[in-house]
Subunit: 255 residues, 4 copies
Amino acid sequence: MDDKLIIGGHEFDSRFILGSGKFSLEIINAVVKMGGAEMITLALRRANEGGEENILDYIPENISLIPNTSGARNAEEAVRIARIAREMNCGDFVKVEVIRDSKYLFPDNHETVKATEILAKEGFVVLPYMYPDLNVARDLVNAGASAVMPLAAPIGSNKGLATRDFIKILVDEIDLPIIVDAGIGRPSQACEAMEMGVDAIMCNTAVATSRDVSLMARAFKLAIESGRAAYLAGMGRVLAGKAEASSPLTGFLED
Amino acid sequence: MDDKLIIGGHEFDSRFILGSGKFSLEIINAVVKMGGAEMITLALRRANEGGEENILDYIPENISLIPNTSGARNAEEAVRIARIAREMNCGDFVKVEVIRDSKYLFPDNHETVKATEILAKEGFVVLPYMYPDLNVARDLVNAGASAVMPLAAPIGSNKGLATRDFIKILVDEIDLPIIVDAGIGRPSQACEAMEMGVDAIMCNTAVATSRDVSLMARAFKLAIESGRAAYLAGMGRVLAGKAEASSPLTGFLED
Amino acid sequence: MDDKLIIGGHEFDSRFILGSGKFSLEIINAVVKMGGAEMITLALRRANEGGEENILDYIPENISLIPNTSGARNAEEAVRIARIAREMNCGDFVKVEVIRDSKYLFPDNHETVKATEILAKEGFVVLPYMYPDLNVARDLVNAGASAVMPLAAPIGSNKGLATRDFIKILVDEIDLPIIVDAGIGRPSQACEAMEMGVDAIMCNTAVATSRDVSLMARAFKLAIESGRAAYLAGMGRVLAGKAEASSPLTGFLED
Amino acid sequence: MDDKLIIGGHEFDSRFILGSGKFSLEIINAVVKMGGAEMITLALRRANEGGEENILDYIPENISLIPNTSGARNAEEAVRIARIAREMNCGDFVKVEVIRDSKYLFPDNHETVKATEILAKEGFVVLPYMYPDLNVARDLVNAGASAVMPLAAPIGSNKGLATRDFIKILVDEIDLPIIVDAGIGRPSQACEAMEMGVDAIMCNTAVATSRDVSLMARAFKLAIESGRAAYLAGMGRVLAGKAEASSPLTGFLED
């Protein structure tokens, strides 16, 4: 099946994007492989850690790095971080994160639109992390975003698809890849989002807080593939107030 | 990973059990293969259709057939059907279905316990279809069942895990394989049930009512494997009222 | 509005039935009044406590007492308790509880049907506490029950309408008053059950575990009245994937 | 109980705010009375309809009118409508609605903040209708809003509390009255919102689409009072995986 995810002109087979923040260097490689991820996000600071160890050494070749602007509190700071990342040869992808709320870590939608507009003009492939508001998603399209990354629930919470109805609206109305980012806590939730027509899933905490991170990475890989296949296959109808025998042959014994 | 499903002393690698009632003969083979199923249930009538075509010719070798007692309205009729199936060389497995409600097709728990007891004594590997009631599940254990098959929602409804809380109780309290049967409509629901610790999923309608039955069979296969892996890996904690940055390195830009 | 609840030929204005088990004697009177309850259930043991204080002294006149068979593990014990209650002049009402599971305290449906049949023949107004299984509800109708009392969730759990879909089926299919009993934790859940067409709500723990039991009793009274009114008024349609302006006059400013 | 809702220095006993858009003039009076509303919102156009009939004649004295800026697509238009309303002697209250999406009718949060800031400086009591985004709610506080009105679901949809988790966050973090506006379809949903600590509920469609609008108005009144009482009383704990007998006296019969 030739079913590619295309972001900013780049093609991907995997629809599972991995965050790296919560992984120790030692396990990143295993997790990427078990999850079949082709993209991994990275805080600039982390790319830049210096010292003897470098996270980049732990990430397999042929994986696309997506630097994020973690730490930025406004558009200006996000733009500055993105430019530094490009100078460090991290490529043209950038995940824009602008966060000014330190308890729930919600993205600032308005500043995110501003940063997206500036960076898109500078040739970045911009993936903005956003609170799933249809009006803002439209502004991001106009600002030149290459995808939108709405949150499912507060980041790191593992609470699942708390914004379900509003992400479905983005799927229906926005003509860009929709990547659900933040809050997905279990593979079944990733699967459900994909069934709804979401294009990809990003997660980190759900894998990192599992007892067996490699096996959980594999569970997410399978769930995302499953949800995609189900979306393409088309879901069957739901009956409201009754049952329907599986078999047209069903009848009572003596009938 | 050596993670077998064991029912009545038989080992299986697949945790996806397929119902056959809604499939035409032509597609059964493809569906079994795409779904990776090793067990398929079959109404006696269907095994017995006679005529030129025989469903058995369409089922791959090395697949375990599980005749069901579809059509039985009480224990006596179920026992009679099971015995006929054995005489037809359908083997020792039997899925006990006793249904007297023609609108919702709910199993009659009390008659199901009676049939299970009789058939278990006769050496059958009995898999009773049941309404998920803990007291009855305990009675089925005592009656010699080899697994219990609680319903998720009315059969054929695709409504999903409407009995979620009560199936979880069976998982916690009953020391037999728990196979969720009936009502599962989407792969994400199968995945969620497996995450809860259910041992296997049976479905038919969700696959049969999809636009692309082979692809949907594959979606279920992946979802069930995913949920199983997640259960074994252990789910991470859920935060109640806040977020947690993915990265321990997260901090604001100028910090 | 002349909207009476009729159980076993008795008419009630209130659809809120109060359990007494978790209340101290001192507060029972206040709770009954604030909740506007006309029926209160009572364990035989409690009616029978003897000593200087007697619970009956704390229950306002004109309140119907409904002794329950708490402590019974099978039909025979339930029948015995009911007969003792009648001899103690507790009246003809009896709530049948047969429980053999000490962790989840689920009713034993099969023994409950047996006890109901015996007691109904002896002229009791029988209100059986049950696990919401349609087949069993039909058996209870045939056994002569005057109402059925399906559980919403494990008793005392405050978990809410975990059996929602199955209680709705009882509302649609069973021609007796449906009283949701056990598990309701918040007034909104009682309201939702009433909106579905349930006839009355019984609760105890949700009120007893509140900081202010009198005020919570009043909250339940209002919620139950609200849900009943909404059921009678008829709920409006739900739109699937769009909005609809409240005003037919709505238009943009310059239109 | 002295439990007043205070908005912009005005005190109200009722926490039910009625929208008028979907009501015919004939029934407005009855609905206001049955719902016990003290505030009713009104599109300027409607106040301004002219002709022989005037909506104001149908609204009982002592009801606070809250003109809304329905029809405004940006801050400037909203400000213009608000000023006209004041000149028409509609008072100082204004509900700011800025909507540029004609399918889901979602408010434009950014323009809403701008309009709020201008109008608050001009002395209006500003109640902004908003998409429930914590960052924006904080901006509205800073802009001088007197309350915030987050949506539960698309307006007129009757879908209920689709934004539940995010409204709860506003309740916890924002030190202004929170009025849930749009999407509430049933009294139980209004009750649940109030249990969470929301300060008031606004609705129109749920009442207007009922078969019996007066009775449904009364159902909402009761539900809102119930939810408020429950919030003040304090909800009891929820048990995770077990039951708890209502009675400390519970024990099996022969114990």
